[in-house]
């Protein structure tokens, strides 16, 4: 299929998902009609506030989290040249989770800022994984990278889960948050994500040429004037920040970071300059579909989006695993 029709198809799917997400929610009297009512002024004040203050920021957040997590996975897979790399497999999501749990267990820590602690947790966890994999020598060992990531992730998550044994209130806060949820996001969250996802797309686009060179091998990249260590450092930092920001807003959402780059490489080829846009569009689409489904599934309360996306992502990943002849 030519790329232009692929883009068209994905964009169509994205628009449909946005419509589905915006036209459903807690109030059954606010639906598709009210969505159009926002534009032609036929709405009650209540319908408008539901659309503009509650549903729109939520859908926007879902889409932007899809972009950030997709890019984070793409960058990590590029700098490690490892198709298994993703924020959750390298322990970055769990590091961010630990940072966030710290604010739930120690309310004093919340004063530092939930976002700051999550991002710090993500960077520290990512850094540790890369050090274990031999990053300080500038040469990453694939197997050590994955094993290091699993170790760091398990270690961080063990601490986060320790909070479950604490007081009921803390435990339920941790549990609620660890499902991955965008049910209560508002415009300030969306603004933060808009900033980071735009910055993320721009920097990833700027790095995409370096990623292409890196794909040829460390020495070729070096020979062509792109120091792999610089690419690795900037890329990993950016990937950790993007994942950390998402975790601080919605909790850990798995599979987007690993599945989306794979889907896009399959659909759009290996050129990272193309993949940046493709991953952003596909990631946003998957998350908005997840958001729409999360409003329909469950009941009486909603199904957390993290659960829905995992329900879509896991079977696809399994399919990919069976179809792939050589996973590198």
């Amino acid at each position: 299929m030519p790329k232009s029709s692929l883009y068209l198809l994905l964009s169509g799917l994205f628009v449909l998902a946005v419509l589905a997400s915006l036209s459903s929610g807690g109030r059954s009297d606010v639906g598709l009609n009210e969505l159009f009512g926002v534009f032609n002024g036929s709405n009650s004040a209540l319908a408008n506030t539901v659309m503009i203050d509650i549903r729109l920021p939520r859908t926007v957040c879902a889409a932007l989290i899809g972009i950030c997590l997709g890019l984070s996975g793409l960058i990590l897979q590029a700098v490690t040249r490892n198709p298994l790399a993703s924020p959750s497999i390298l322990g970055i999501n769990q590091g961010a989770a630990l940072g966030l749990v710290a604010t739930l267990v120690f309310p004093q820590a919340a004063a530092i800022g939930v976002g700051f602690l999550s991002v710090t947790g993500a960077i520290v966890a990512g850094g540790l994984t890369f050090i274990i994999a031999g990053g300080l020598q500038g040469k990453l060992n694939s197997l050590r990278l994955i094993l290091g990531g699993i170790t760091v992730g398990a270690f961080a998550y063990a601490f986060a889960r320790f909070a479950l044994t604490l007081d009921d209130d803390v435990a339920s806060a941790v549990l609620q948050w660890s499902a991955g949820n965008v049910g209560d996001v508002r415009w300030p969250d969306a603004q933060l994500l808009i900033g980071w996802s735009v910055l993320g797309m721009v920097i990833t686009l700027l790095l995409s040429h370096r990623f292409n060179l890196l794909a040829l091998g460390d020495s070729s990249a070096q020979g062509l004037g792109a120091d792999p260590r610089v690419t690795l450092l900037i890329g990993t930092l950016l990937a950790a920040v993007l994942a950390g920001v998402c975790v601080s807003i919605a909790g850990p959402i798995a599979f987007v970071g690993i599945v989306i780059p794979h889907v896009c490489r399959y659909l759009f080829g290996l050129d990272y300059r193309v993949l940046v846009g493709a991953v952003s569009l596909t990631g946003a689409t998957l998350m908005v579909i997840g958001d729409a489904l999360s409003k329909w599934m469950g009941g009486p309360s909603e199904m957390p989006i993290g659960v829905v996306v995992a329900l879509i992502g896991a079977p696809y990943f399994l399919y990919q695993t069976f179809m792939e002849k050589d996973l590198g």
Partner: protein, 310 residues
């Protein structure tokens, strides 16, 4: 010589029979049936609703799970059971060692929290397991009878239940002029979550017993999610309760985030100034007759405020 031996055996036998508890009643509970002593003296309870049951018939437990926070045993209970209990730790993970060291002759445990420890608890003392987490107010009152039997105070408990029912009915009668059919919603508020207690929950069905109504009647299955429903602002606005009773579990709650939003300000309860705060602990964690009567007092105060507004 032989007589001496026989006599010795007899004496030992009589002494050991005296020191053994006399087992009489067999109590049917969530995990089967347990033979309990005739009138247990050293009781350990692992949930607050069982403290309530003991208090209802003036029995003080030797040990209880107070979450290591003695203040969680509220004044209404202390008035009856005193303050001399030994804490066996948290309700979630009570210390089995401490429990054993108290040499109890009856343990009352919760189905959700303590089923896994049932075998161990049973080795320590006869244990009955009841559901203290889900189930509604009528079920909680029924449980009182079971505990009354286990305590060997069947008649006393039945009498207390009759008194209690009369009390609640009297409250319902006084509320009637204002309350008839009014939708009152109780919810607990945490930093990032509002949880509504549905009509089938303990608090929801208690409000129902007072004559209030509820629009939150989820019916699929027996899942916990049907009793305690995490809610978004949009869902709350759809339910739109006439009176909203909030129990805060944190100093700053999600309501503080919502209160500047148009959708929240548009709620009937908010517009009419009918949002009231109660103690989350005594409404949400406690259940039983003593607790229900203290809830009734809170409601009475709320209804007075509402009638003053009219």
């Amino acid at each position: 010589m032989l007589f001496k031996k026989v006599g010795h055996c007899l004496v030992v036998g009589v002494i050991s029979m005296l020191s053994l508890p006399v087992f009489s009643a067999v109590i049917e509970h969530e995990l089967g049936s347990t033979q309990v002593p005739d009138s247990p003296q050293r009781i350990v309870v692992l949930e607050f609703s069982f403290v309530d049951a003991l208090a209802a018939v003036n029995v003080a437990p030797v040990g209880l799970a107070d979450d290591n926070k003695p203040e969680r045993i509220v004044a209404a209970y202390r008035k009856i059971i005193g303050s001399d209990w030994i804490s066996v730790g948290t309700r979630k993970t009570p210390s089995l060692e401490l429990t054993a060291s108290l040499k109890p002759d009856l343990i009352i445990a919760d189905k959700k929290r303590h089923s896994a420890a049932y075998a161990t608890l049973s080795e320590i003392a006869p244990t009955i397991v009841l559901d203290s987490l889900v189930g509604d107010y009528p079920a909680a009152v029924k449980q009182m009878s079971v505990i009354g039997n286990a305590l060997g105070k069947e008649e006393e408990m039945e009498q207390r239940i009759t008194e209690h029912k009369a009390k609640i009915a009297a409250y319902a009668e006084t509320f009637k002029a204002l309350s008839d059919g009014m939708y009152v919603q109780f919810a607990t508020a945490r930093a990032s979550r509002l949880t509504l207690h549905s009509a089938s929950s303990y608090n929801g069905s208690l409000l129902n017993a007072f004559g209030f109504s509820s629009k939150l009647n989820p019916t699929d299955g027996d899942a916990r999610a049907n009793f305690y429903v995490p809610t978004t602002l949009e869902q709350l606005s759809e339910l739109n309760p006439e009176v909203l009773i909030l129990g805060n579990y944190a100093d700053v709650t999600i309501i503080d985030q919502w209160k500047n939003e148009a959708l929240y300000q548009n709620l009937s309860a908010v517009k009419a100034g009918k949002v009231f705060h109660v103690d989350a602990h005594s409404w949400s964690r406690l259940r039983g007759m003593v607790a229900a009567e203290s809830t009734a007092e809170d409601l009475s105060a709320i209804m007075k405020k509402i009638s003053a507004k009219k």
